[in-house]
Amino acid sequence: MRSGLKSEVFEKLAVIAGSISNPEVVRWKQQGGRVIVYTCSFVPEELLVAAGLLPFRIRATGSQSAGRADDYFEAANICSLVRHCFNKILTGEYQFLDGCVIGGGCDANRHILDNWEQSEARIPFLHRIFFPHSSGNLMAQNFRNQLENLKQLLEDHFGVKITNEKLQDAIVLCNEIRDLQKSLYALRKVDNPAITAAETISVIVAGYSMPKEAYKADLTLLLEELSGVTMPEKKPVVRLMVVGPGHDEPSLCDIIETMGGAAVTDLTCYGGKTLFGSVREADPDPLQALADYQVIDRPLCPKNLDAHPIINREVMNKIKEYRVDGLIGQSYLCCETWSGELFVLQKELKEAGIPMLRIEREYTSDSLGQVQTRVQAFIETISGGLL
């Protein structure tokens, strides 16, 4: 849903988020730049930026079918986000890629690697890093070793030298962007924000799809513009938070806002889950700083055995911070990682008196009629006064 925001820089970012290849990627490639795709928020972009690459977070924007990918996946229990992403690879929409780093956040992700190696779609650099499934210093050291290995492979393949200084600069840049994105999210704390949830998703997704310096400049400009916007007073509406795996498209937020609610924040893999704290800057061992951030400071993925209390705590914090009235737990069919997590979360929230609606869906915006009915009924139930 659009807020009526009139901003050239927003329109530019919306165009970037609305397709896979985009003008910024084309320009980067024309200037001799190289692009590397990655599949999970636990792959540290900082390392790719320090290698002089454009990190591009995989997504399936605009996909209507996973038909070609389905020929490859051996198991039927692969979530549709993964299937649609791989389909985009097979249909040539990621032809601009120079490499890929697969993150082992879930087993479905790993199947992309297996199938890519078997498929007709060739890629010169394909590597997988393993994520520890628990936190702690030992696991952070293990992850650091994997990052060291990835660093070496990137240096060898792309003919670059990733110095500590470059890594430290990349960490500062990504921290700055994270802080700007947090400021963008904070705008929705008020009753009538200058930017909607769907628009926010576009801005965040664009950040995964263009050079970081250019994105930082655009985001800074957008925030300046938004700070000057005065919105009229608005009657408070039901304020909802979305929790679940990666959603790179805004259909659920559109439904929430069309049905009279407000999607005020989220804890999802493309959104709020990546905006957690900062990586230590100026650390003499920047790889360890990155590993500590991903493994110890930000273990907000249900793949981690000890993540649940942290996810629960973060959800509770956001409920207070954003004055959330209810949660929508949205996951993809066959997403085992999040299904269990959302089940437990719903039980705990119920005990705390916070309503939660569970929605399991496919990547494409199918069955939206039923989702619309359930979201509307959820909003009506919370608003209470209706009945």
Binding site: E360, S367, G369, Q370, T373, R374, Q376, A377, E380, T381, G384, L386, L387
Partner: protein, 273 residues
């Protein structure tokens, strides 16, 4: 005060007119591919039954059902979950659980003592546990929906239907037919299969007495019996045709809205004096 509620479901369209506290039901209209047209036919039937000449005599209209957003002559749309709850509670204030089995979905709604929705559950995607499932089975068994719902076909030795997917269950039933399993055993097995699925939704939403059934499947005696067995509670029928419960709830909302609006206008006029 004259208000109306229109329920444009996946299979049928229904409208209810309320003239003060008097409820006038329209007719069941088979849904077309044009929800707006179905809505128009439904409201015309209700107008005729109410003895009203034209739609503009209606002071407030609330639409509900899958086609609710397409009723362009309505004042407001409200989800069918809220409307079925409202309609059932309006008809019987002792209701605490509503089971609505419609053409393409089924819902379980839990109510508090004031009629507010405490929780709800819906089937997702699949047609199992819906009217469509019964239609498919009736076709396979050549017995019509009347045969599926007939009390004469309730058997003490039901066949086991293990598949709840309507596509797979269809082939399972064909196997039973070819094994000469008696028709009442198969039908009772089908009703038990649906009741088992629906009962799961009801328990998740929150089961409490008094339980009522709304939607087109209310007439299925075998299903009601199977639901009672599965839930361990009596499943009651409402005194008003349960198929109109969504439209009735929408009309009840319309009445509340219009009264509130009228009161607000009155207050504003008095303030202006």
């Amino acid at each position: 005060m004259i208000v109306a509620g229109i329920d444009i479901g996946s299979t049928t369209g229904k409208a209810v007119i309320m003239i003060d506290d008097k409820i006038i039901l329209g007719k069941i209209i088979m849904a077309s591919i044009k929800p707006a047209q179905t809505a128009m036919l439904a409201i015309e039937a209700a107008l005729e039954n109410a003895g009203l000449a034209a739609q503009d005599e209606i002071q407030y209209i609330v639409s509900t059902g899958y086609g609710r957003l397409k009723v362009d002559f309505g004042n407001e749309n409200i989800s069918e979950i809220s409307c079925h709850a409202k309609g059932a509670f309006h008809t019987d204030p002792e209701v605490r659980t509503v089971i609505d089995i419609g053409g393409q979905d089924c819902k379980a709604i839990s109510l508090n003592a004031k009629g507010g929705v405490l929780g709800f559950e819906m089937n997702e995607r699949c047609a199992a546990g819906t009217g469509r499932f019964f239609q498919v089975m009736a076709k396979v068994l050549s017995c019509g929906l009347e045969g599926i719902g007939s009390p004469d076909n309730i058997s003490p030795t039901p066949a086991t239907i293990s598949n709840q997917c309507s596509v797979f269950a269809e082939s399972e039933i064909i196997s039973l037919v070819n094994n000469d399993v008696p028709l009442p055993d198969i039908i009772t097995g089908i009703n038990r299969s649906v009741a088992s699925r629906v009962s799961g939704l009801v328990r998740r939403a929150g089961l409490a007495d008094k339980v009522v059934i709304t939607g087109g499947c209310y007439a299925n005696e075998g299903l009601v019996s199977a639901l009672e067995n599965s839930l361990g509670l009596k499943v009651n029928r409402l005194p008003v045709n349960p198929q109109f419960m969504g439209a009735l709830g929408a009309a009840a909302f319309a009445m509340e809205r219009f009264r509130a609006k009228s009161a607000e206008t009155q207050t504003n006029m008095e303030d202006a004096k």
